[in-house]
């Protein structure tokens, strides 16, 4: 699915978080949204997902303004697994709450895909490590076979080894399943590894954009100082 965003503006109370955002998310490509904490990255992807309404501008999904959000899924920053449910119930959430019982095989297959051992099938999120929670959350995001997956800082809170593993996993999953991916991060290394195109947001506007493989050759001063600040 191709998503085109034009002159998007979004404010909370009187404060504009997104001042004028225009960008294109190409079909089956991995688009990375970069920027400092609080610059509006999460608000942007939640607005694209229709979790927030926007004040002005337009978002077109394959040329249409309406979209079935069942085609989307999201991996949240800290997983956002439901504490009161088991891992299997979390992964197959929509089937579980609709009292369907034949989700075991699909869940086990997804757990295998994201590198989770089947022994945690009946465990609760509080019993898992940060990396395992991220994997379980990724499995939940993949459960409904999305056309577009939104990844909100997928490596936050993980050590470098686990970050690398999650990046590899994301790359493998989106390539194998041919999913359009939109990731937000402030981790330059992850952006280069998992992205095709990047957009750099600063102060509510797009400051820089380009090919992820050429991030380090950027001429934009603000983005350069961001890269240096990110200690790449």
């Amino acid at each position: 699915m191709k998503i085109e965003i034009k002159n998007l503006k979004k404010k909370f109370n009187d404060n504009f978080v997104l001042k004028d955002i225009s960008l294109t998310i190409e079909k089956n490509k991995s688009t990375i949204i970069l920027g400092e904490s609080g610059c509006g990255k999460s608000v942007l992807i939640k607005t694209i997902y229709k979790l927030f309404e926007f004040d002005s501008g337009s978002i077109l999904y394959d040329g249409k303004s309406e979209v079935d959000i069942d085609k989307f899924s999201m991996l949240f920053q800290y997983g956002a697994l439901f504490d009161s449910l088991k891992i299997s119930e979390n992964i197959a959430f929509t089937d579980f709450i609709n009292n369907k019982t034949n989700f075991e095989r699909k869940v086990l297959s997804l757990m295998n895909d994201v590198g989770l051992n089947k022994s945690i099938f009946d465990r609760y999120p509080s019993e898992l490590s940060g990396g395992m929670k991220k994997r379980a959350a990724l499995a939940r995001a993949l459960y409904k076979n999305p056309k577009v997956i939104f990844l909100d800082e997928p490596t936050t809170g993980l050590d470098p080894i686990n970050s690398d593993k999650i990046n590899d996993l994301i790359l493998e999953v989106i390539t194998k399943r041919k999913i359009t991916a939109v990731s937000i991060t402030h981790d330059i290394k992850s952006a280069i590894k998992t992205g095709d195109n990047y957009y750099f947001i600063n102060d509510g506007i797009i400051q820089d954009k380009g090919d992820c493989k050429k991030i380090l050759k950027t001429k934009n001063k603000i983005f350069k100082s961001f890269i240096i600040g990110a200690k790449y």
């Binding site: 999201m74 956002a80 959430f93 709450i97 009292n99 409904k144």
Partner: protein, 255 residues
């Protein structure tokens, strides 16, 4: 000048929160009659609330009844009206103390836990996750809690009434020397169905107040640990104040 500005901001915030709360209630009723109904979720919440609240409800009932009998005796013995104690105990419990004390205890026990749970879900983006999974949080979170608590409170009040009367009976018979048969006879003869039902009506109202306020405070909490803390405090304080104030108007209704 700054002081007046702050008062203005506070008043605007107060009215805006009130408006938001009324809208929240209207949305609750809108989704109440719309599918989907998560029956398993409704049932498990009801069972959970019921089991976890029984001990605290039993303690509230028995001690209220016991104290009521002792205090009534202190007053009535001054003008030789001790025989009215069974009547006073049963009337006060069924019409007033049963629903109000149960409401306050449940607000502290269950209301706080509803607000804390939902606020934590909000802070950890679980509410957003529900939306991304195409699940309406009114249907999944609010409806089961409001229905369960609104239905559970009358049962709790009936228990408090019964246990409270038994508490009064124990103290009156074993401590104050009343005749046991006469005490029970006076209690049963004096109690009318209207007395009991007025308490039960209050219980329905208090159950609804506690659950809807707690869900609202949780869903619209501020972010972070502070947000969860204030949501919990607000849920208990607002529910308690609304219980006590609405109690007057409900009493007027059945006067």
């Amino acid at each position: 000048m700054k002081f007046i500005e702050n008062i203005g901001k506070f008043i605007i915030k107060l009215f805006s929160s009130f408006g938001k709360f009324i809208l929240f209630i209207l949305f609750f009723f809108k989704y109440l009659f719309k599918p989907k109904f998560y029956l398993k979720n409704n049932l498990s919440f009801f069972v959970n609330v019921f089991i976890s609240s029984i001990p605290i409800i039993a303690l509230t009932g028995i001690f209220s009844g016991m104290v009521l009998a002792l205090q009534s005796y202190t007053g009535f013995s001054r003008f030789s009206a001790e025989s009215a104690i069974p009547n006073i105990v049963v009337l006060t419990l069924t019409r007033e103390l049963g629903p109000v004390l149960t409401g306050l205890m449940i607000s502290a026990r269950v209301g706080s836990s509803i607000a804390a749970e939902i606020a934590t879900m909000r802070v950890t983006e679980q509410i957003d996750a529900l939306k991304t999974l195409n699940t309406n949080y009114y249907n999944y979170l609010v409806t089961p809690r409001v229905i369960s608590l609104t239905l559970a409170l009358p049962i709790f009040v009936t228990l408090v009434d019964f246990i409270g009367v038994m508490g009064g009976y124990i103290v009156s018979v074993h401590r104050l020397g009343f005749n046991d048969n006469l005490y029970l006879l006076n209690t049963i003869d004096f109690l009318s169905l209207g007395d009991y039902l007025s308490g039960i009506f209050k219980a329905f109202a208090f159950g609804f107040i506690i659950s809807i306020v707690s869900c609202y405070c949780g869903l619209f909490s501020d972010k972070g640990a502070f947000g969860v803390g204030s949501a919990t405090t607000n849920a208990v304080v607002i529910s308690s104040v609304l219980i006590l104030s609405s109690n007057y108007f409900l009493t007027e209704l059945f006067f």
